[in-house]
């Protein structure tokens, strides 16, 4: 049964803390509840996306800098 981490807010998804830094998490990484997996920029303010489930990342459902809706899947976990 696959699990997903959803965007809590509408906005722009960032998979990195800054453009010149590595991704918070990559495919194959283990994720624990409470880990920061990305940022959502909404109206020029940045909000951390915190994992509410644990697992291993199988895929990113949203790309870095992609516009997302609230409730949209960001990461697939196994």
């Amino acid at each position: 049964m696959s699990k997903q981490i959803l965007s809590p807010l509408p906005g722009t998804f960032y998979s990195k803390p800054a453009p010149d830094q590595p991704q918070f998490k990559s495919v194959g990484d283990a994720v624990a509840v409470g880990d920061v997996i990305g940022l959502i920029e909404v109206m020029k303010s940045f909000h951390e996306v915190v994992a509410d489930q644990a697992g291993t990342i199988t895929a990113f459902a949203a790309e870095d800098e992609e516009p997302v809706m609230a409730g949209q899947a960001l990461i697939e976990l196994s």
């Binding site: 807010l9 509408p10 722009t12 920029e41 909404v42 109206m43 020029k44 516009p67």
Partner: protein
């Protein structure tokens, strides 16, 4: 040559404001927009609309090549940049002119001088305008900088020469902190602005933010009096007034004359604003920076002078000389603007984009609401949270605050959190009524008054 077809390189309420001014002058309009703004009011109002990219501003509203291409493709002969986005980008101003189009704003060279905060400070000093005590230009040598910091006294602000709008500022309270912050500040400025240059200013405690509106045609410059914007949160203005309640008339005359002198010295063309700190304890004012564009809070100036600043920008860009002499600009009554943002003041100003389910707009004498909202519009999450500006005018400040409270009571934006409860609380506050505030007044007030900022508690 008068403008015939204007491209608006912006969005939101200011795009609507510019389209209105163009329509009144018989100028056709082209609205560029991102994929997130297809349903925007500005797109609906403009004669033509051109999609210039995806939602992210860096790929649409900040994409110089796409904006210029849209202007050329639609046969526009002029570009108005509004505020924010590319409004103070000298390279964009140059690119517009290089494409054979009219730039509604000052020359790229003027934007460059004022955009470099050190060059602006030097220009101000040369024009005899007082500046905040600090370094004479960029800090080239740490030992000399240390000496200046000790001379002017701590705390001092370390500022990025390429910064502005409240960005790139650090405060050092003593010599040790100063020496620790200098290398960090330089590295950060280099990363953020591509220029590690720094300068230094004394911290003026309990200062008011007062700014002078000017209009120039490249030869003559007039002022349209001042605005006071001391009520700020995180260096962003939330409540603005014209005139300032704190300035004695003689001080107003001096301040406005200094702004005209500096704008004349740089042969300024278009609308601009010179920002100052004013210390009411000492009666001193100090130039801090110039904004080479129309500002969010320009309507309060329009209300007290009767001058349509955006229309004058279009006329000046079209080659007309200033239509007013200084003695034709009269200060009449008092105006206040509040920024209505899609943020919840009861929850730390958490942003809340979404769909406007209903909209009731205030009216009556002396009330103006500049907005891009309509019922059914979905406010996208990709841009700033400003939904509109509620502006009131009345004969005097006390009456204007009363009128603002009345108008806020009529305003109802359904479906979104807004900052209306904040403004309702401010309009009843004893210090606000007395005009007794400074730029660091609002943040501690917010901490102590969070219980007054709930939408529910304010609904009668």
């Amino acid at each position: 040559m008068p403008i015939k077809k204007l491209l608006i390189a912006n969005r939101g309420e200011i795009a609507v404001r510019i389209i209105r001014a163009a329509q009144e002058l018989g100028i056709a309009t082209v609205q560029v927009h991102s994929a997130a703004d297809t349903e925007s009011l500005a797109v609906m109002m403009a004669d033509e609309a051109v999609l210039i990219g995806p939602p992210m501003a860096s790929k649409s509203y900040l994409n110089i090549a796409n904006v210029i291409k849209a202007a050329v493709d639609t046969g526009a002969d002029a570009v108005h940049p509004g505020y924010g986005f590319l409004a103070e980008n000298a390279d964009f101003a140059d690119a517009v002119e290089a494409a054979g189009l009219i730039w509604v704003g000052p020359k790229g060279a003027s934007i460059r001088v004022m955009g470099d905060k050190v060059a602006a400070r030097v220009a101000a000093q040369a024009a005899g305008v007082p500046v905040v005590p600090g370094s004479n230009g960029r800090i080239e040598d740490l030992a000399i900088a240390r000496g200046i910091a000790q001379d002017i006294g701590f705390p001092v602000m370390i500022k990025a020469a390429a910064g502005g709008g409240g960005r790139g500022i650090r405060i050092a309270h003593d010599l040790e902190e100063f020496e620790r912050l200098m290398p960090q500040a330089s590295a950060e400025a280099k990363a953020a602005f591509g220029d590690g240059g720094l300068y230094m200013e004394k911290v003026i405690e309990r200062a008011r933010h007062i700014e002078v509106q000017i209009l120039g045609d490249g030869n003559n410059v007039i002022h349209c009096f001042e605005r006071e914007c001391s009520l700020q949160r995180r260096r962003q203005k939330v409540w603005e007034e014209a005139p300032s309640a704190a300035l004695p008339q003689a001080m107003r005359d001096q301040l406005c004359a200094s702004a005209v002198a500096l704008a004349k010295a740089v042969q300024y063309r278009g609308a601009g604003t010179l920002e100052y700190l004013y210390d009411d304890a000492s009666g001193q004012f100090y130039f801090i920076e110039m904004n080479t564009r129309i500002q969010v809070e320009h309507p309060v100036t329009e209300m007290i002078t009767g001058v349509d600043l955006v229309r004058e920008m279009l006329r000046i860009a079209g080659g007309e000389p200033l239509r007013y002499s200084q003695d034709q600009i009269r200060l009449n009554g008092h105006a206040i603007e509040v920024r209505i943002c899609a943020e919840d003041p009861a929850q730390g100003f958490k942003p809340g984009p979404g769909t406007v389910t209903s909209l009731k707009v205030p009216g009556g004498p002396g009330v103006r609401f500049d907005t891009m909202l309509y019922a059914g519009y979905t406010v996208p999450p990709f841009y700033d949270s400003l939904l509109g500006k509620l502006i009131v005018w009345d004969e005097n400040r006390a009456a204007a605050i009363g009128r603002m409270a009345r108008a806020l009571g009529e305003l109802d934006v359904g479906g979104l959190p807004t900052t209306k409860p904040l403004h309702q609380a401010l309009a009843q506050d004893a210090d606000v009524l007395a005009g007794a505030f400074h730029t660091r007044w609002l943040e501690p007030w917010l901490e102590q008054n969070s219980h007054k900022l709930d939408e529910e508690s304010k609904t009668p």
